[in-house]
Symmetry: C2
Subunit: 394 residues, 2 copies
């Protein structure tokens, strides 16, 4: 069986996170991804800790399955290498600040002259247009500007950043979607196009119903911790050794919960008689639940709740996620053997195809690992490659 994107060749100028997450997904689904890196240092994130045997865990997590070639993009000979690569590529992805690729002579307008079928995806903090277009962006700044922090956190006084860099990751995922949709369009028209994805736009688009909610009520939503605004109890509860989540979507589940925690008296309290009144009195109810559940461990309660068919789940730390039977059964933790770092674990791919299974077979490349191979495929002789290396082009 071939993979879903086995016919697709990607020239990848991306660095750090949003762009590399995009091209990682393309590589996972079988695209050939050729990562263009600065000679000597490569992708900035090769220098980001933590390290395993001196290799960046950050870099290795999101660059598996890619090839690496070093190219000095400012040199004329370097540009020639790119032009040759682009000639028969399907996709270019870059996440420079708007304007940088143009300065290098590698912008869409230039590259489409070489290859009109090219799909060119530019991922940036604020997009190719608009008043903030040229500003630098960081995940933290975008999570703040995009509204997500204003609705995340234990309470209204404490807006909170999501613990993984979701502003980058969403931008990477929307970039994949844009590229694949443009590929579909190309099968109809024969023509490529440019796809412009901004981290800030992506944040706005995943606010879910918060925008309609604000429009309807005129009231800005605020962080409300882990409780649900309109279902109760649907929240995190403290146990003797941590927290668990419980989700009682109806009165039967509420009754089952009260019996499991040995608080049948709550069932007679009119304050908690139905979902509406439980929501209203959640500030009273949560401490009662915390008090009752702190008598035992998370595991104890989860077993009881499962037996009683009350939807519940642990708040797993990373070590527990990795050991979870469902996560293992779904092949969501993959062992890769890196030539320097040795055995490392990376997340698997969450898209399970029946006919074109994804395969994560190759660890992240060491810097310039594939330079010679790629150049010889482009027709460069051994001597020419040596000369390019001597000249600092690769």
């Amino acid at each position: 069986m071939t993979s879903a994107l086995s016919n697709i060749k990607v020239i990848d100028f991306t660095r750090v996170l949003a762009g590399p997450f995009c091209t990682m997904m393309l590589a996972d689904m079988g695209a050939e991804v050729i990562k263009i890196e600065k000679s000597e240092t490569g992708d900035d994130s090769r220098a980001y800790g933590p390290y395993i045997n001196g290799e960046s865990a950050y870099f290795m997590s999101i660059n598996r399955g890619k090839k690496s070639i070093t190219v000095d993009l400012k040199s004329e000979k370097g540009k020639q290498i790119i032009y040759k690569l682009v000639k028969d590529a399907d996709v270019v992805v870059e996440n420079f600040k708007p304007g940088v690729m143009k300065k290098l002579g590698l912008d869409y307008e230039t590259l489409k002259e070489i290859n009109p079928k090219l799909i060119y995806c530019a991922s940036s903090g604020f997009g190719q247009t608009g008043p903030y277009s040229k500003r630098p962006a960081y995940d933290l700044i975008i999570q703040g500007m995009g509204g997500l922090m204003s609705i995340t956190g234990p309470d209204a006084s404490c807006p909170t950043k999501v613990g993984s860099s979701v502003a980058d990751i969403f931008a990477g995922m929307f970039s994949v979607i844009g590229i694949l949709a443009a590929l579909n369009s190309r099968t109809l028209t024969g023509k490529g196009q440019m796809v412009d994805v901004a981290m800030l736009d992506c944040m706005v688009s995943i606010l879910e119903n918060a925008i309609a909610r604000y429009t309807g009520s005129g009231i800005d939503p605020v962080p409300i911790g882990n409780t649900h605004p309109s279902i109760a109890p649907f929240t995190s509860v403290k146990t003797s050794d941590g927290y668990i989540n419980i989700a009682c979507g109806n009165d039967q589940l509420w009754e089952a919960l009260c019996n499991i925690i040995n608080k049948p008296e709550l069932l007679k309290d009119p304050k908690y008689a139905n979902n509406h009144s439980r929501c209203e009195h959640m500030p009273d109810l949560l401490p009662i639940l915390n008090e009752a559940m702190k008598e035992n461990t998370s595991d104890f309660w989860l077993q009881k709740l499962e037996a009683g068919k009350v939807p519940a789940g642990p708040i797993n730390t990373i070590s527990k996620v990795i050991a979870d039977p469902q996560v293992i059964a779904r092949n969501m933790i993959v062992d890769l053997c890196h030539p320097i770092a040795g055995k490392i674990k990376v997340p698997g791919t969450p898209i399970k195809f029946s006919e074109t299974p994804s395969e994560i077979s190759k660890p992240a490349p060491v810097l310039g690992e594939d330079s010679d191979l790629i150049l010889s495929e482009l027709g460069y002789t051994k001597d020419e490659i040596s000369q390019l290396r001597t000249d600092g082009v690769i």
Copy 2:
């Protein structure tokens, strides 16, 4: 100009969030999406508040651009309607618990007999396989089980749920990616396939470097608030009327910050001499920054920081996001006119195509809005449609 997916027809069995978010994106990019709903009540989320003129803001946010037909999937005549629809469809999407579609006689094995080119995407909490496969899933439970809550929050004692339902939204986005990649594969092989996406798998795959970090160190990451683990100061700071984010990636920016907040003495303190020592002494440094900045408003500081070229940004509430000049310039807030709710605002689409622009032109359908049209296109006569309605099939 046509849209990127103008050739794609989607039969949409999804409800609530993960599935509808997927088919919303397909509709935004020009696919014809026919939403199959229960008669009388429709998608469960039509009953979720808040409401605008009695219409669910939740439902309207993520069902724009779709058509709605009511079908009783348990009736034989209802199944016949689906079989006819599937015959020339490209994609089926469903997010029932595994097993439900099989019971209805609408599983992939059945539908591919009718249409071997069909791409069938099943989105579920835990996936079609594995020990938890049949369990119900809620966003809160999955955010907890998948590890994201364990690394989000103000400190290690307070694991925190993300304020929007990202477990659902990620599953919806990975589903779109799977569908579009399968469409690419179909152009090569002529064959459809099944795509199986689980919310839990998606959560694991967006943990970014947390898994490699744990593998390398053996230490479980914990929530660390809004500060960066290895760059300082790169955090949220309290002002007189809220919080702002600042991001000082190097010593020059640190110096600029100290001058702006009128604390030049910090520059002489060896505790804050370089990035490494600032990270180490962040517990001392953050209160000093909070103390200095609470003297003035967020707007005051943001202007000063922008003038001094220190990367910074607001923590925008939803009302501020909607009014942001960049968000407006990028057309990320779209006004739709719903026949009952009136004018509502929804997020725009974050994928900007140069040749096949997305267009959000149609509000969410009222229940069964397109039943007659769709059925007559399938060849049902007016009388037959009346009879189906009398029989409670539609």
